[in-house]
């Protein structure tokens, strides 16, 4: 079974660029744990897939190696950061791919390409060998065309890894069994939570319509819809854009042209400090630089409490919102992303508009629980994703609901390919 691997995952002897010029030509001397696990399960690596540089972006336009196009409409973005992994599935170039999800980088590309993308519980899949973007959020996970395929790959990727201190030493829930159970189309007694605060944030009307169709389909299968309040979710995006850049500013410090990767400006005269600065200036793209600068700012001693420290407290409150919500419902549901695939170039000049693509996916990353995006219909001929969020370590729950939805609305294939 061939599998595509997002190019931020270390593959022994095979170039691993993280979509960045600074790592051009770097061949890791080791395999990521998820790659080891796939090899051991008999999966064959088909190739590496494109991504926004260091997984920072929502459109795959920030790859140093050029953008990836959406198979549904080649003038539109395939989502990001894992646009390559999602587009490869939608275009039938690969049956399975691996992604990483820090703020929605598996789910949002899944949504806008009409494929399935699952972010496992943080700590459920090993981060060892993932070129780190934001260590407390990064989670590798499966991308596939069907929920069952995603569950099968999930089962291969997941499991405790002693090389990752944040890996959870507990058995992986039976995600495959749960997907097969869900595919029978019975959700009797399952309670779906609709986050009240998401309603106010305003997704595109077409996206909301497709989402409601999905919700109706699930209620027809026996699920019950309950409105829940998560008052701090409105602060998830600001908290995320402090925490992730802070961790990234530190994680990306190692790219300095000393031990591996690009070196620029070493003319025998310049001192190391200048060579490092020229290397990083030439090796990083604009979005990475912006985030490194924001992170450096947020961690500075004068600003730490107001920014990074406060964001970590907000993270606690968001976690409490989730915990309270899961006392009332089994899973939370929402659209995966507020808008369908947008045209290339339409959001690159205004970074904050780009950040809004992750509005609904980010809260889960801050909480650490699992979430999946599964197609629920089309808006203006473009796919819409339905997001199911489950409690930490209850990855099986989201697969059950996702498979049930899939059984009701079917899978999506771009017109030209069907």
């Amino acid at each position: 079974m061939p599998v595509g691997v997002k190019d931020i995952v270390a593959t022994r002897g095979v170039p691993t660029t993280a979509g960045s010029r600074i790592l051009e030509g770097w061949r890791p001397p080791y395999d990521a744990t998820v790659v080891e696990r796939m090899r051991a399960a008999g999966l064959v690596m088909l190739g590496k897939t494109n991504l926004d540089e260091f997984a920072m972006g929502s459109s795959t336009e920030y790859s140093a190696y050029g953008p990836t196009y959406n198979p549904w409409d080649l003038t539109r973005i395939p989502g990001g950061s894992g646009g390559g992994s999602a587009a490869a599935l939608a275009a039938y170039e690969a049956p399975l791919t691996v992604g990483t999800d820090t703020g929605g980088s598996i789910r949002q590309p899944g949504a806008v390409t009409g494929t399935v993308g699952a972010k496992p519980t943080y700590g459920g899949t090993s981060r060892y060998g993932l070129v780190a973007f934001s260590s407390s959020l990064d989670t590798p996970g499966p991308c596939a065309r069907t929920v069952e395929d995603a569950a099968l790959l999930h089962a291969v990727l997941a499991g405790h890894d002693p090389r990752d201190s944040t890996s959870i030493p507990q058995p992986v829930p039976d995600v495959v069994g749960a997907a097969r159970l869900g595919a029978t189309g019975d959700l009797t007694g399952v309670r779906l939570g609709l986050v009240r605060e998401f309603g106010a944030e305003g997704a595109e009307p077409g996206v909301m319509a497709a989402f409601r169709d999905g919700l109706d389909a699930l209620t027809k299968l026996g699920a019950e819809v309950v409105e829940v309040s998560c008052p701090h979710f409105q602060y998830a995006l600001p908290a995320y854009y402090l925490i992730a850049p802070s961790e990234c500013s530190s994680n990306l410090a190692r790219f300095d042209g000393v031990r591996y990767g690009l070196r620029v400006g070493d003319d025998g005269q310049k001192a190391i400090e200048e060579v490092m600065s020229l290397t990083r200036e030439a090796g990083f793209g604009p979005e990475v630089k912006r985030r490194v600068i924001i992170g450096t700012y947020a961690l500075s001693s004068g600003y730490y409490d107001a920014y990074y420290g406060q964001a970590q407290k907000v993270r606690t409150l968001i976690t409490r919102d989730f915990t309270a919500a899961f006392e009332q419902v089994d899973v939370l549901v929402s659209p995966t992303t507020p808008f369908v695939a947008f045209p290339l170039g339409s959001r690159t000049s205004d970074p904050y508009q780009m950040y809004l693509a992750d509005l609904y996916t980010i809260p889960t990353n801050l909480y650490g629980g699992p979430a999946i995006s599964v197609p629920c219909g089309l808006s203006e001929g473009l796919p819409v994703g339905f997001q199911i969020m489950a409690p930490t370590l209850a990855d099986d729950r989201m697969y059950r609901v996702a498979a049930a939805l899939e059984s009701a609305v079917g899978t999506l294939t771009p017109g030209e390919l069907s």
Binding site: Y235, G268, E273, A306, Y307, L317, Y355
Partner: protein, 99 residues
């Protein structure tokens, strides 16, 4: 009032070892101002008594035994290096002590 000045951007870029151009500073200053004003909303939350969350998994004491694991070969270790001399990583002259 701007959340961040052009000078601050230049200073942060220097701290981050980014040799940004003057034009980049102009562009970044405007963009970072928008972003920082947006993310500063975290300050609206009253959270004095709230403990910070740095990890979503409640694990503690994840330790390994003091047991040797094979190292990389020197060839593997140095393979990706931009410049190598006598089995070591060669770097341009060092000006400052640190930071």
């Amino acid at each position: 009032m701007a959340a961040i000045s052009r000078e601050e951007v230049a200073h942060l870029a220097r701290l981050s070892r980014l040799a940004v151009s003057e034009e980049e500073i102009d562009v970044f200053a405007g963009q970072l101002d928008v972003i920082l004003q947006a993310v500063a909303r975290v300050g609206e939350v009253v959270a004095e008594d709230i403990p910070p969350t740095s990890h979503s998994v409640p694990l503690t004491n994840v330790l390994r035994d003091d047991v040797e694991v094979p190292c990389l070969t020197p060839e593997e270790a140095l393979a990706g290096a931009p410049d190598v001399e006598e089995g070591r990583f060669r770097v341009p002259r060092i000006l400052e002590e640190e930071a």
